[in-house]
Amino acid sequence: MADDASRAAGRWIEPDRRPITDPVLGFFDESGWSLTEVRALAEAGAVLDRPRWSELGASGHFLPAGGEQSLARSAVVAEEFGRALGQGPFVESVVVQLALSQLGSESHRTKVGPDIVAGRQLATWAASSIPGYWGSGSDVQAESSPAGFVLNGSLPMVLDAGAVDWILMSARDGAGVSQFLIPTGQPGLRLDRLDSLDITRAFYTVTLTNVEVPVTSLVGARAVGTDGVARQVRTALVLATAMTTGSMGHIFDVALQYAKDRTAFGRPIGSFQAIKHLLVDASLKLETSRAMCDAAAQAVDEETPDADEIVSMAKAYVADAGVDVAHAVWQSLGGISYMWENDFHLFLRRITTDAALFGTAQWHNERICELHSLAAQPTGEQS
């Protein structure tokens, strides 16, 4: 594919990242993953291409087996995945794999987990099911039953739920919040495909009506709570943020090249300060986004006490910066950005959706205040 021939060309990649990026880029090149393919899938409805996804899993570059890999390393892969506008539940698969290896039963760890890593089985994660996170307001109820549990509730915007074998979700019962791995074929589980701004991905509403699951579907202890899934949340936020920066990086490079190639009024448009300064400001936001991702991945890997805060800062920053960069690119591309055949809109749709997935900037800003225990003062109290 023409757009793939230059995947690594013209890019300067930090030397210490090349051992991670080179094999990933090589995999994309050799297996023919391309924007052309992403576009063809999008136009065909964006239903997950299972053989393709299995191939990606089998390549061994993407999903860390046993959750052993550093998050900094996974974030570099996520950035490349976002740059390639990769399709499929990448962040979700890493989180499921992490949950199974950390909290799962013997069977989770030795059978389902390795099947997911190898691409034989596919899984997604209903991130919105964790009570109190993302401001989603969703709340799946669990009730004890003789056979295990009965689940009821509804989950919005679950990525690729209609194409995978397993869904990891949280649900609440009298004892607290527990986490379950449920096969998508379970009776009472309904998957309704949504139309979406991002046409490169498929989102589903998952509705649970008296879904009976065995005790063995628990991932982690009963009432593992939201603290028990904190590592999953941090991982998802860092990877999602890194994916967004990858998408930002690709369209920024496209706009930069266009500003050098396109001439108007007898000169390259990038020589006009109006365009030059617009692109410099966008590149500043891109570099700062990358810096925030690096900082967040490092904080999680080192388990610093402020890791949750830095992760939320990174997500909040990149959510806004991503949309800002996309709009700067949009403006600098001018009329061609409105052509369906131009790939820009695929990235615009992706980046705008990324901004709200796993919590909007506003939600994370509020979380930052809460992590600092910034409390409202009682009325009238002024010091």
Binding site: S271, Q273, K276, V280, L284, D306, H364, I368, S383
Partner: protein, 426 residues
Amino acid sequence: MTETAAPASISVEQFRAQARAWLEANLERRTDALKRTRGLVHRTVEDIAEQRALQALVHRGGYAGITWPVEYGGRGLTRAHELAYLDEAKDFITPDLGIAGVVTLAVIAQTALRHASEDFKQRHLGPILAGEELWAEFLSDPSAGSDLAGVTTTAVREGDHWVLNGSKVWSSGAYYADFGLCLARTDWDVPKHKGLTWFAVGTALPGVTVEPLTEITGDAEFCREEFHDVVIADSERIGGVGEGWAVAQSVLQYEREASSGGLTSVLTLTGPGPLAPDLVEMARRTGRTGDPHTRQLIATSHTGDFAVRALGARLARLMLAGHPAGPAIISYSKLAVGLMEPERAKKAMHVGGAAALAWEPGDRDALTFSLGYLNSRVTAIAGGTNEIQRNALGERVLGLPREPSFDRGKTFRQVQDAGQNWAGDS
């Protein structure tokens, strides 16, 4: 020069131990917490004299110019030694020579080391380390700020000396400096970048007047100088005649590095720290800590503060990893601060509301808060405006083509005429 003769092979840890002992024995411990918001910075003669004495003490102890060559009064040690000293010294009251002190060590001395004659370096670098010479930059003319190469302050050669006439402005700390590093035009009949030369101008020389300018904050930190037939020895010239633009690139580079906090010092990113303390304090005053909009302003300001530092750490790492654009990427840090600070200040005024606009006389916290607002565009304008940084980044880092320029292929005299009789590009 120094009391402690350091063997060239002293290890960083040995050096650290020596420094710790020396600091304990000679300097006082720091007790005040550093405030984020800039207050008034005008310095008194007595204060500067005390600080010069403190600098002399540090120099005698052997902890000034740690990385400088031994022949110019330094220790000839590595950056790692210097960082070890700075780490040990952070809890002590070290010399604070204000903006001129920073300029002298981080910009002037570095420029001299790179471009000045041996004789010049012998004459000036030792006194600089000893606190005997403080310098300012005589850079912008009243008529040439961003267009730095357009300065009209002129030096004319007469035998073995030069005669300087003109005016400079925005020279920080010049009112207590001993010298200014002055960019002057030495030839009007060559293209504007080719007729420039640098000189050391003693502020006490006959014909030099230095006048602090009152700023919008009421402070007086930067100055305006007038030069009236000032006689300067040729030995006080830095770099070749007509080669001033190349030297200027060094000056600006060192200035950017100094304002971005230095390369190595920012490599290690520390955590975000307390939540935007100035804003939280103001929100408590006004009872708005529970207001959702105020909380958004506080969180985004806090994140912006951290993002600037995270960016600095990343840029330092990229430079060390051999980024193809080299040190030019440091302009990202300057631009980041130049964009963030005004935005942050506007948010702060929203948080403060009426309390940031009027207060009981003597309420220093409220005063400091309002000064922070007035100072918030300093970085966006001083030391190369945001627009100048954007041009530098666009052209040197992103590789975008330059704007057409109307001063190419003309002598500076013609450029001046064309500008004053501007009729478009025809």
